[in-house]
């Protein structure tokens, strides 16, 4: 895509987050969409492109009263929204539409109007993974980590420290679900979920949503909010079955998506002021730092233990508290994007002073897919 040709002009989360038993899934999409439209000063009839995951863009368009000339139902898990941003930028540049609304809503905790988790027993996952007792992500996303730990000498304490440092960031965010400080011992003494993963190494399960509105950079100047430009994007997919990842110590989808985004953006790692790495579990930031090229293989644990990603560190990471402490409804990517946009607007609760470039990296499924968006606030 062309650098800075498209910008985010509307961004908002749902009015409430956490436990929302009185709103259904599509209601969360709509609440986030209405908040983002208010942020951008737009009405549904001003929108001519829609994108969402979890529900169909057909449902979204009809529910909001939008008649789109562009619809994207890409659904590859929690990073779908990074792909939606990428596709929207291409669509706007190609003249398919002018103003794209991307929504997310999920009743992850209350399960109001939500479908179940499961795979057809005739699918490949149904035949070759489900029979062995996998449940939800805690017993699938976690499977590669023992190999990673053995290869690089990573300890349970190293994993725990990821959660500890992200809780420090969460403490600065009034909307974060968990804000009380925790120690490595607290993490290692929390309930065992799927060894070696303890409860505090796993993401939250909450209700919520978010929405973004994108338009051309040229039009973006006329909107009420400071435009946040899309500088580079990447995407890739690897496998629907975690057991079939090429290498359990690194994600191919991460590497491909990240490199594409950095190449498009034309930046180096030293240019990055702020980083979001989708953290469904505590090992994700370790894989992300290495696969995006911020650290050499095996060195992310030392980078995090050295407080480089903590408050005051040189590479602030997951400044909302992440999926581990801020919120996680199931497809967290939208909340990572929202935090990147807040940081670029300069309005984040834990604002990184003077930040000009934010990298937002998502994962979908269990290392199944990946999407990366690099934002800047400089035109």
């Amino acid at each position: 895509m062309m650098q800075k040709s498209v910008a985010v002009v509307g961004a908002a989360e749902t009015t409430k987050m956490g436990k929302i038993p009185d709103v259904s899934v599509i209601g969360l999409h709509a609440d986030a969409a209405l908040n983002a439209m208010a942020d951008a000063g737009l009405k549904p009839t001003d929108i001519d492109g829609v994108a969402c995951a979890g529900i169909s863009p057909v449902e979204l368009a009809q529910y909001l009263g939008i008649t789109p000339t562009y619809a994207d139902g890409t659904s590859v898990g929690g990073c779908s929204f990074m792909l939606h941003v990428r596709h929207a930028a291409a669509a706007i540049n190609a003249g398919l539409c002018t103003t794209v609304l991307i929504t997310h809503g999920e009743s992850g905790r209350s399960r109001v109007g939500a479908g179940g988790f499961g795979r057809a027993p005739s699918s490949l996952m149904g035949q070759f993974e489900m029979p062995y007792g996998v449940t939800a992500p805690p017993t699938m996303f976690t499977i590669p980590v023992l190999r990673y730990m053995k290869t690089y000498g990573v300890t349970e304490e190293d994993l725990a420290n990821v959660a500890v440092i992200q809780r420090e960031w969460a403490a600065k965010n009034p909307r974060a679900s968990y804000r009380d400080p925790i120690t490595i011992d607290d993490v290692l003494n929390s309930d065992m979920i799927a060894w070696p993963f303890r409860k505090l190494m796993c993401c939250l399960v909450t209700d919520g949503g978010g929405a973004l509105i994108l338009t051309s950079a040229e039009r973006a100047k006329d909107f009420p909010q400071k435009p946040v430009y899309v500088l580079g994007t990447g995407e890739s997919v690897e496998t629907p079955m975690v057991s079939q990842m090429e290498d359990f110590t690194t994600s191919k989808a991460f590497r491909v998506s990240g490199k594409k985004a950095f190449d498009e953006a034309g930046i180096s790692h030293a240019d990055v002021d702020h980083l979001m790495i989708y953290d469904a579990f505590a090992h994700l930031p370790l894989y992300g730092l290495e696969d995006l090229g911020f650290c050499k293989p095996g060195e992310a644990k030392d980078f995090i233990n050295g407080r480089n990603t903590a408050i005051g560190g040189k590479l602030p990471l997951n400044t909302n508290g992440g999926g581990l402490s801020y919120m996680h409804s199931g497809m967290y990517g939208m909340y990572a994007l929202q935090e990147s946009v807040r940081q670029m607007r300069g309005i984040a609760p834990a604002q990184v002073e003077g930040a000009k470039i934010s990298v937002c990296h998502g994962v979908g499924g269990m290392f199944a897919a990946s999407g990366t968006v690099i934002f800047t606030n400089e035109a």
């Binding site: 057809a120 027993p121 005739s122 490949l124 149904g126 035949q127 070759f128 993974e129 489900m130 029979p131 062995y132 007792g133 996998v134 449940t135 805690p138 017993t139 976690t142 499977i143 590669p144 980590v145 023992l146 190999r147 053995k150 309930d191 065992m192 979920i193 799927a194 060894w195 070696p196 993963f197 079955m241 975690v242 057991s243 079939q244 359990f248």
Partner: protein
């Protein structure tokens, strides 16, 4: 306890499940490159060649990675169990359970040698599991 979740074979995978019922672990390989692959499909990934064959694997493997699930799925009983990925001697990896040993980190050591065993789950489905190698 609800009945265990079992696979539903498709035409492309039926030979694999016929094999386990007969006590054989069947893989496929590309006849042009000789590279073995899994899960089953009627062509070789990457080359896209349909010139493939089914062959019987040795059943030997090593423990590649795993978790021990402390929140058992209802059809899996009440005790923690390991969900493992094993590295087959022929190259591919597959998910399985490790049987015939305690489900503990002390008993389950990465890279330990394993061998396949078959357990009949229904008239049509026999699952391949792996146990510590006896040889």
């Amino acid at each position: 306890m609800p009945p265990r979740i079992l696979p539903e074979p498709t035409p492309e995978t039926q030979h694999f499940w016929d094999g386990t019922r007969n006590g054989e672990l069947l893989l496929q390989r590309c006849k042009e490159t000789g590279e073995a692959y899994f899960p089953p499909r009627p062509f070789a990934p990457k080359t896209g060649s349909r010139n493939v064959e089914v062959f019987k694997a040795s059943g030997r493997a090593t423990l590649y990675s795993y978790v021990i699930n402390h929140r058992p799925r209802p059809d899996m009983g009440t005790e923690p169990y390991a969900i493992a990925v094993v590295q087959l001697e022929e190259g591919p990896r597959m998910m399985t359970n490790i049987v015939g040993c305690p489900q503990t980190p002390e008993a389950l050591v990465l890279d330990m040698p394993l061998e396949v065993v078959f357990e009949k789950m229904s008239d049509t489905i026999t699952l391949p599991f792996f146990q510590p190698a006896k040889g």
